[in-house]
Amino acid sequence: MRSAGEYFRSWFGRFEAVAWPQLDPWLYLPAATLAVLGLLMVLNTTYFLGLEKTGDAFHFFKLQLCHIAAGLAVLALLSQLSLRGLRRLVAPLMVVALVMLVALWIPGLGVVRGGARRWLRLGPLLAEPSELAKFAMVFFLADLLSRRQERMNAFATGPLPAFIAVGPLALLILKQPDFGNTVMVVMLLFAMLFAAGARLKHLGAAGGGALAVLALQAVAKPYRIRRLSAFLDPWQAARGAGFQLIQSFIALGAGGGWGVGLGAGRQKMFYLPQAHTDFVFAVVGEEFGLLGAIIVLALFGAILMRGMRVAHEEPDPFASLLAVGLTALLTLQALVNMAVVIGLVPTKGLPLPFLSYGGTAMVMAMAALGTLLALARRPAVR
């Protein structure tokens, strides 16, 4: 009988038992700063919400602490893995992600909230399969594209298999419906194809097609049109669909250069919907001002630069593409979230990695960071 540890080693390779000083501080310090800031934000944006909904002002704060703890465990685990171990994760991740996405439609498992079937009941916990799906898809694409490096010039042998593989996944997410994560999946697909060396004309054509599909999807659902028009002229719909955006502007404007101070923001008092999740960046802007918001931007910028440096230096195609994908996963989502908050793109419903309240999102962001830390340890990168 082999012990469980031996099975694990044979599958994932040896644990390298790295101590945290050996991890890349340029990756984990920005992320840790963001997570701590996020914890503060959760505390002060959910204080009244918690009181209102559960009677415990610290309800959401405690849960977020649990999310971070769980995320750190996953991060610790993943950061120990070798490249072989990471590659072994590709298939199980993809299988689990697809199973969960399908399981959403099993009555009693899928939880419908606000008209969207996005949450899966796992015992006492609720998980968001889309978040796992994005993570799994990055692994899957890194694996797929790294094998097809030499065949990227032809559409049929290069990008097409990726489209075919990701297509069902994207459709499952769109079906929930989760437009924001569908867009994220498609953007990640294009980013990784671009990094993997797909030809630009193929990407341009496919991108045009994808945009057309997205446009059709947008037109198909009236609420998306409403969101879009509210985005184009939020003041006209200040009491309706544009309300959220206006409140976001007010928060940022009221914060000014230096902010009103931690905890002193007023927009979180039910003026700004989703102050603790999708619009937490607006609260950062209100309480810490333009300065605080720029610092948050800079922290994501650091993760971008460091993650991309790993991808840039990494000779192994799988490792490199995985680093590109995971870095893009964290930073693209941050970009889209912040662009929504400042009214550059229509409302999507995507959380800000590390900062927003949310279990699956936090665990998956930590997982992405853990994987990046594992990749950053590789000799070629150091």
């Binding site: 990094a195 250069g257 991309m308 400042i342």
Partner: protein
């Protein structure tokens, strides 16, 4: 390095640059938002986040002179809704019980909720129990606040004077408006931050003040007299078909208004009912002007009481106009002119007096100027400059045409005749006290100036008694049993407000008078507007005067100075046919009267001879003279020190001459005190004892 690796590195570099550029774009957009839109957004935030709650201060109560409440504030609860919250949290079916609890229809409730306002009142000023029923439903977005509602416990009593306060506790009319700043109290406005659901967040150390209640205002009005005046006036308005009526009851010495009644005919609008005609509207006084004219003429020396004037047998031409009397008269003295109300006589006196002197006299009586009464919207009346008067105008002014006065003006002018010659400022608020009872405001009688000499006033008093008591008096219906009345009727044609010409058959009928004539306590004016021809002042207004006067004097416990029995009956002469009660009363009263009441006592001692005036004040001397039908000539000021003929002498044809000096002030004071106690204490029990005895005797007879 292989080709794919190289290309990947380039691509990764490009991707990094694109993403970094997007971060930079977001930073720039953010900076632009904060820098360019910041101030506007900050203002918007402040507007959105801050709220105010006004903690209402109760309006102070208004009461009459005896503390009878006329206006009170009661705490009520007002139910409001925050429609966005309520609509989100409940269905129309769930809201139906709310409508029922509030006593409105569900559709009315829904209409209020769909006004797209963040806050609406659902029902204000509910009794706390009713509001509690609505609050107990526990609907999200429904709340209630304490508010004060104004109640008028006496209903419409003196409503045009007391006025009205609005829903939000603001004075709208009458005293509620005039003294709004005192009555309103000091509400406290709390500014606070609130969340989007409207929950206030009291996170700043607020200096919590409690709202300060408004001042308690005590009026000079007497609710009983006011009610009496309104009831009597309303009955006459209905009976005579008048459009409106006004009545003023004034204390001639202090200027305190005891009643100010304004009655509109049935079917009048609320606005007309609340209109304070007595202060705000001027009317042509008509013959009541003759009292003022005679006073001015006497004061001026243009005429003396015995002087006779030829009244032209009813038609007198001035310029191209002919002045008529109701019935033709020949030679009349001043008393006769007033008694029969001769227009021709009045015209001649006015012409003799001249425009300038007449005008100055009228101004001295307060015509053409506001009295300064503490009520809003007082009218000035109309009194043109004498330079604009033609001869006919002067003649017309003599009997009250071409001039307009407000009822309060006319009452104040006659108060000057009643009180011995002083123009006093009428007022309706006696005092105001803050919530702790400290006086904020005290009104004391204000004498403006002397209009006529005391002797003239006395003469006028006597002449005006002729109107009521004289054989041809026009005001005989104004008589009040037990009291002597002095007064004047007035009947004027109404001016058509559009053409400026007189209506042929629409009249303003009035009566003004004061009583008891010997010691005037009340000046009462009754005006009936827009009555049909035939409803002369002496026929419609005079009876109302009589009703108000007798009721008011009884309310004020004024003892009679003119008993309904004649003086002889007080003497113990047996065998005369008198009823038991009179006899009984005489028995009871005689000793007290003999010891205290100067007028009656003097009358008794004097018999047919000249009474003893010594030690009396001028007013009391005149009163005594009037009772005994003597004319007086007065020298000096103060108290009577000498008289000719001597007391008890057989009276001659001429007047009794009195010399007065201020020396015996102390003695008179003691006398006055004694007299006061007589009126207040002795007289009333004496009556009661008399009645009791009388009843006992009737029982024993049975």
């Amino acid at each position: 390095m292989n080709e794919p690796f190289r290309r990947r590195r380039v691509r990764i570099g490009a991707l990094t640059i694109v993403l970094a550029a997007l971060f930079a774009l977001i930073a720039l957009r953010l900076a632009a938002l904060v820098v360019f839109d910041g101030p506007r957004l900050t203002a918007l935030a402040r507007m959105e986040h801050t709220g105010e709650v006004a903690l209402a201060a109760p309006r102070g109560p208004l009461s009459d002179r005896n503390g009878e409440p006329l206006a009170l504030s009661a705490e009520t609860r007002s139910v409001y809704a925050r429609p966005p919250q309520l609509l989100a949290a409940s269905t129309p079916q769930e809201r139906a019980p709310l409508a029922a609890a509030l006593g409105i229809t569900p559709s009315a409730l829904e209409a209020k909720l769909h006004r797209r306002a963040p806050f609406v009142w659902l029902r204000r000023h509910l009794p706390p129990a009713r509001a509690q029923a609505a609050e107990a439903l526990g609907l999200d977005g429904v709340g209630a606040l304490n508010e004060y509602k104004r109640f008028y416990p006496e209903g419409t009593l003196a409503a045009p004077v007391v006025g009205l306060a609005g829903m939000d506790g603001q004075g709208l009319s009458g005293l509620e408006l005039q003294y709004d700043r005192l009555i309103r109290g000091e509400p406290v406005v709390l500014r606070f931050y609130h969340d989007a659901l409207g929950h206030p967040i009291f996170d700043s150390p607020l200096a919590l003040k409690t709202p300060e209640a408004g001042a308690r205002v005590v009026l000079t009005l007497d609710a009983r007299i006011q009610a009496l005046a309104e009831n009597d006036l309303a009955a006459e308005v209905r009976k005579s078909g008048a459009r409106r009526g006004a009545a003023v009851v004034l204390d001639p010495f202090s200027g305190q208004v005891l009643a100010l009644a304004n009655i509109a005919a049935d079917g009048a609008s609320i606005g007309e009912r609340l209109h304070d005609t007595a202060v705000q509207d001027a009317f042509e006084p008509g013959s009541t002007m003759k009292g003022l004219l005679a006073s001015i003429a006497l004061q001026d020396g243009a005429i003396t009481p015995p002087q006779r004037i030829y009244c032209e047998d009813g038609a007198y031409t001035v310029g191209r106009r002919v002045i008529h009397d109701d019935s033709p008269h020949g030679w009349l003295d001043l008393g006769g002119i007033i008694e029969v109300s001769s227009n021709i006589g009045a015209s001649k006196i006015a012409l003799k007096l001249g425009a300038k002197r007449f005008y100055d006299g009228l101004r001295a009586f307060g015509l053409g100027a506001r009295t300064g009464i503490d009520l809003p919207g007082e009218a000035r009346g109309i009194l043109r400059k004498p330079s604009a008067w033609r001869e006919i105008d002067l003649a017309n002014h003599g009997f009250g045409q071409g001039v307009a006065v407000t009822p309060i003006q006319l009452a104040a002018a006659y108060a000057a005749i009643a009180n011995g010659g002083y123009l006093v400022r009428p007022y309706v608020v006696k005092a105001a006290y803050d919530a702790a009872g400290r006086p904020l405001l005290t009104h004391t009688p204000e004498v403006l100036h002397r209009v006529i000499a005391p002797g003239i006033a006395h003469t006028m008093n006597r002449l005006l008694q002729g109107v009521v008591n004289g054989p041809d008096g026009t005001g005989r219906l104004a008589r009040v049993s037990d009291f002597v009345v002095a007064g004047k009727t007035g009947t004027a044609q109404m001016v058509n407000p559009t053409t400026g010409a007189y209506y042929q058959s629409r009249l303003v009928a009035s009566f003004i008078g004061f009583l008891p004539a010997g010691d005037p306590r009340l000046v009462i004016l009754v005006v009936l507007y827009d009555v049909a021809h035939g409803h002369f002042g002496g026929l419609t207004a005079a009876p109302v005067f009589s009703d108000i006067a007798s009721g008011a004097l009884s309310d004020l416990n004024v003892a009679s100075t003119a008993p309904h029995y004649d003086a002889a009956s007080l003497l113990p002469t047996a065998g005369a046919a008198r009823d038991d009660s009179a006899e009984e009363l005489a028995d009871q009263l005689a000793p007290a009267v003999l010891s205290g009441d100067d007028t009656t006592a003097a009358a008794l001692t004097g018999g047919d001879g000249v009474p003893d005036f010594s030690g009396l004040s001028l007013r009391r001397a005149f009163a005594l003279a009037r009772r005994r039908h003597f004319d007086l000539e007065v020298e000096g000021d103060g108290y009577v020190v000498a008289q000719r003929p001597a007391p008890g002498a057989v009276p001659g044809a001429g007047p009794v001459t009195l010399r007065l000096a201020p020396a015996v002030a102390e003695a008179e004071k003691a006398g006055a005190l004694k007299t006061a106690s007589m009126h207040g204490i002795l007289a009333a029990p004496a009556n009661r004892i008399a009645r009791a005895r009388h009843q006992a005797r009737r029982r024993s007879r049975r």
